[in-house]
């Protein structure tokens, strides 16, 4: 039985208990959320050494980092280093998005390396496999695709990203509407090419029951991916995106009916003023299913700084109700991230998630801010650094920008504001 089925039967599973303990909520709260489909706990029954994480309404906003083999130079070892860096920086989940090379080895190594939930996108391997087996990705068969889904599920992958909502109708609408950038998602683009070439409906839509049957057997959480996510601000909330979301809403309902845990993937590039509406639409159409958003980035022009652009959008999206943020690195739109960029991407996403949790009034988030600010007022540097979201970097910058001997900091030097007023306003006699 899946977590969802057990929750509906009134059972509180060990996973629900673990999630509840980590979040400071009751196990019953988690059970009720899982039963209603507003919380998912991605945890494949075959998975070993996984600390379960809850994603959904009322819980801390979670962050996912993506790695994976791409191109001839990619190596499993390098990607594993990135996973370790991402986990060290505090990511809540890892996605292995390998599209080439030894994809099986990479996935198995990923599952063995991290104790976070792991997600994959099986279409990538199916395309690579068809290119190899049949000499062309366009010759991929439906059986090829499902064999990969089954294999990845059997390996213990906790959540699978599947573009089941990118139907022929949606694709045709995108063409009619004249999207500025119709090819954004790697998986979506290849899937659309396959559909057009073979003049066939999307197999992940047509054979969705078969997807659900596999997912249920392993309790894999289905992550409904969007082939029509906006790849530029001008395409945000166009007909193609919204129609796909309507379909995803139907697929959410069918997954729940089948006892399968489900969440929905989304944007992309969104102007700030459309974020709230985007989240509200997803929540309404997908009946409160957790929303897993990529970024969103809030401008198209921040190449080299898209982790910052995504932190802006991610914070706003999570505040508006998105529960799961897929990081964007500084390498986005330019290439593939190195280990440092992976680390920085995770921290930027965690800042966004925390800012949102604070805005939502999560008690633990408020306490964290308060504790750090008290340490700041008391000029307790050790405590400030220990409480920082990235203690390593805070400590390093403090050392480089101020020198350890300084009681205040080099910004204000002797004229620290806190020090100046402390004597007059009472309380602590220390500074900044």
């Amino acid at each position: 039985m899946t977590q969802l089925e057990r929750a509906r039967a009134g059972e509180i599973t060990p996973e629900m208990k673990q999630v509840a303990a980590g979040e400071g909520v009751s196990a019953e709260f988690v059970r009720a959320g899982v039963a209603a489909g507003t919380i998912v706990i991605p945890r494949n029954v075959q998975r070993r050494n996984c600390v379960p994480a809850g994603i959904g309404a009322g819980l801390r906003t979670k962050v996912s980092a993506s790695v994976g083999l791409y191109g001839n130079d990619a190596q499993v070892d390098t990607e594993i280093q990135k996973i370790k860096a991402a986990v060290g920086a505090g990511t809540d989940a890892i996605m292995d998005l390998s599209v080439s090379g030894d994809i099986d080895a990479m996935r198995r190594e990923t599952l063995a390396t991290t104790s976070t939930p792991v997600g994959t996108l099986p279409l990538y391997q199916a395309i690579a496999g068809a290119a190899e087996k049949h000499g062309s990705p366009l010759k991929m068969t439906v059986e090829d695709l499902f064999a990969v889904i089954e294999r990845q599920a059997a390996d213990g992958v906790d959540f699978l990203a599947l573009h089941s909502g990118t139907t022929m109708n949606v694709v045709e609408r995108a063409r009619r509407e004249g999207r500025v950038d119709p090819l954004v998602s790697y998986g979506g683009s290849h899937l659309i090419g396959w559909m057009i070439h073979n003049q066939r409906e999307n197999p992940l839509y047509e054979h969705y029951d078969r997807v659900l049957e596999i997912a249920r057997r392993y309790d894999v959480t289905v992550s409904l991916a969007d082939g029509m996510r906006p790849g530029c601000l001008a395409d945000s909330l166009d007909g193609a995106q919204v129609e796909e979301l309507v379909i995803l809403g139907e697929l959410v309902r069918r997954a729940r009916e089948a006892g399968v845990q489900v969440m929905v993937k989304g944007p992309g590039h969104i102007p700030l003023n459309q974020i709230e509406a985007t989240i509200a639409l997803q929540k309404s159409l997908c009946k409160g299913a957790p929303y897993f958003v990529f970024g969103p980035v809030v401008t198209d022009i921040a190449a080299g700084y898209d982790h910052i652009s995504a932190a802006i959008g991610g914070a706003l999206a999570a505040w508006a109700g998105a529960e799961f943020i897929c990081y964007v690195t500084a390498a986005e739109h330019l290439g593939h991230p190195n280990v440092g960029q992976v680390r920085e991407g995770v921290i930027a996403a965690r800042i966004a998630a925390h800012a949102a949790d604070l805005a939502k009034g999560l008690p633990e988030a408020e306490q964290w801010d308060r504790r750090l600010s008290q340490a700041r007022k008391e000029l307790d540097w050790e405590k400030q650094i220990a409480l920082a979201i990235d203690p390593e970097r805070a400590g390093q910058l403090r050392k480089e920008r101020s020198g350890e001997s300084s009681a205040a900091c080099a910004m204000c030097g002797q004229y620290c504001a806190m020090k100046v007023v402390a004597g007059y306003l009472g309380g602590s006699k220390q500074s900044c």
């Binding site: 119709p182 057009i196 022009i301 920008r401 900091c409 100046v420």
Partner: protein, 426 residues
């Protein structure tokens, strides 16, 4: 004659023309905005020709960078480099916040080196000199304060942060309500200490008309310093902050009546759910005066990344009506920024400002994003680089040279290329 008096007399000044050209708007719109006090154009009558910028409603959101020495780091040649870097990174104005070493020399160097409006905080120099000459900040005299303002105005400083909106009402409110981090504004702290020690009202509040007379003579834009800005998310929108804002609103009205250009400085650390209310309150209480905000920082817990916490808050604040974003660098809360920190800070603030401009429907901003999207679809790398917020950085990156829609996996039969042909973009 100040810009605001000229505007009220129906005149369109060369500065208004320049701003109109930059913003692609009618000069009459700029004049009307300046006349109403919704737009300021900081430009001291003594200043040489600079690239002016208009700050306020209907205009592109502007970004300010801070430079300056401190008692611990006082090499002015390093600050000159930071100025050059901040300008190259695209800031619209710069403030010299020096408190160490040769403060006069530093200011003159900045005024000479900057092609942009330059701001100052005269109370800093005044306080430091009081320590040197009189043995302590609390020994400053009111005369010292006005002399410091006059000196900087005569040298051509275009806008000044002056903490006039701090009086005993605010301090009492602060003492009554209590705060996690009391006073985090340096100027605010100097004055609070001075007021409590001497048991005297803030001269910059009490003799506000005297201040206005100096500013008017040089057309210095008054930036009402926020002595009581929240230094932690827990202190946001408390009674003390609002008391200060109400007083700032009264002073805005008086500055306008005197023909002095005025804007209002604000937060600080603000949780996201307070940002809109903060902007709304400021616009309401200060009669739509331009709002110049630090950050806002969306959380307290990210030292080392406060350019990012500020980009989050700044974008939200800009979308909600803030007109002028003061950058925050990764060194905030940890020390004095390096040259690289300055660049990172300016770019992060520009991203926030641009994201807010897009949300506010700024046509130039939207057009630029659309051009970038088209360049991406056309796989035009050169154009992508030139449209990037930091072309230098975009150029550095390798692996962006995809010259076709064929991916690295499929080979010539790439499925994505089939899709590209279908959509008519291959």
């Amino acid at each position: 004659m100040t810009q605001v008096l000229a505007a009220r007399a129906g005149r369109i000044t060369p500065e208004m023309e320049m701003v109109a050209g930059q913003e692609n708007l009618e000069a009459g719109i700029i004049r009307d905005g300046v006349a109403a006090g919704r737009i300021v154009i900081p430009k001291n009558t003594q200043r040489r020709e600079i690239r002016c910028c208009g700050i306020g409603q209907g205009l592109r959101i502007k970004v300010n960078a801070l430079i300056g020495t401190s008692s611990d780091r006082d090499q002015i040649h390093v600050e000159a480099k930071k100025l050059a870097i901040a300008q190259a990174a695209g800031c619209d104005a710069v403030m010299d916040l020096s408190t160490g070493g040769d403060i006069d020399g530093m200011r003159r160097q900045t005024l000479a080196g900057a092609d942009l409006p330059v701001g100052g905080v005269p109370i800093y120099q005044c306080a430091i000199e009081a320590i040197q000459k009189r043995g302590g900040i609390v020994a400053m005299t009111a005369e010292d304060m006005f002399l410091a303002v006059e000196k900087q105005a005569a040298e051509g400083v275009d806008f000044m942060a002056i903490h006039c909106a701090l009086n005993f009402e605010v301090i009492k409110r602060l003492q009554a309500t209590g705060r996690v981090t009391d006073v985090v504004s340096r100027g605010g702290a100097f004055l609070t200490g001075w007021m409590l020690h001497n048991q005297k009202e803030n001269p910059l509040y009490e003799q506000f008309d005297r201040l206005l007379a100096i500013l008017k003579a040089y057309d210095v834009t008054l930036s009402l310093g926020d002595a009581i800005r929240p230094g932690s998310t827990a202190d946001s929108l408390d009674g003390a902050q609002l008391q200060g804002l109400i007083i700032a609103g009264e002073l805005v009205a008086r500055a306008r009546a005197a023909g002095v250009q005025v804007m209002v400085e604000g937060p600080g650390h603000v949780p996201m759910h307070h940002v809109r209310a903060t902007m709304l309150l400021q616009k309401r209480l200060c009669q739509e005066a331009p709002y110049f905000i630090l950050g806002t920082l969306a959380t307290d817990v990210a030292p080392g990344y406060d350019h990012i916490t500020s980009a989050i808050g700044g974008a939200l604040a800009g979308a909600a009506g803030a007109d002028f974003l003061c950058y925050v660098t990764p060194a905030e809360h940890l020390g004095l920024p390096t040259e690289q920190d300055v660049k990172d800070g300016v770019v992060a603030a520009r991203i926030a400002a641009h994201a807010a401009d897009l949300a506010r429907g700024n046509k130039q901003a939207r057009e630029r994003d659309l051009q970038m999207a088209r360049a991406r679809v056309a796989l035009d790398r050169e154009r992508q680089i030139s449209l990037s917020i930091d072309p230098e950085k975009a150029k550095e990156a390798k692996g962006s040279g995809d010259s076709s829609h064929v991916c690295a996996v499929c080979g010539p039969d790439c499925a994505a290329r089939v899709a590209a042909r279908y959509f008519g973009i291959a």
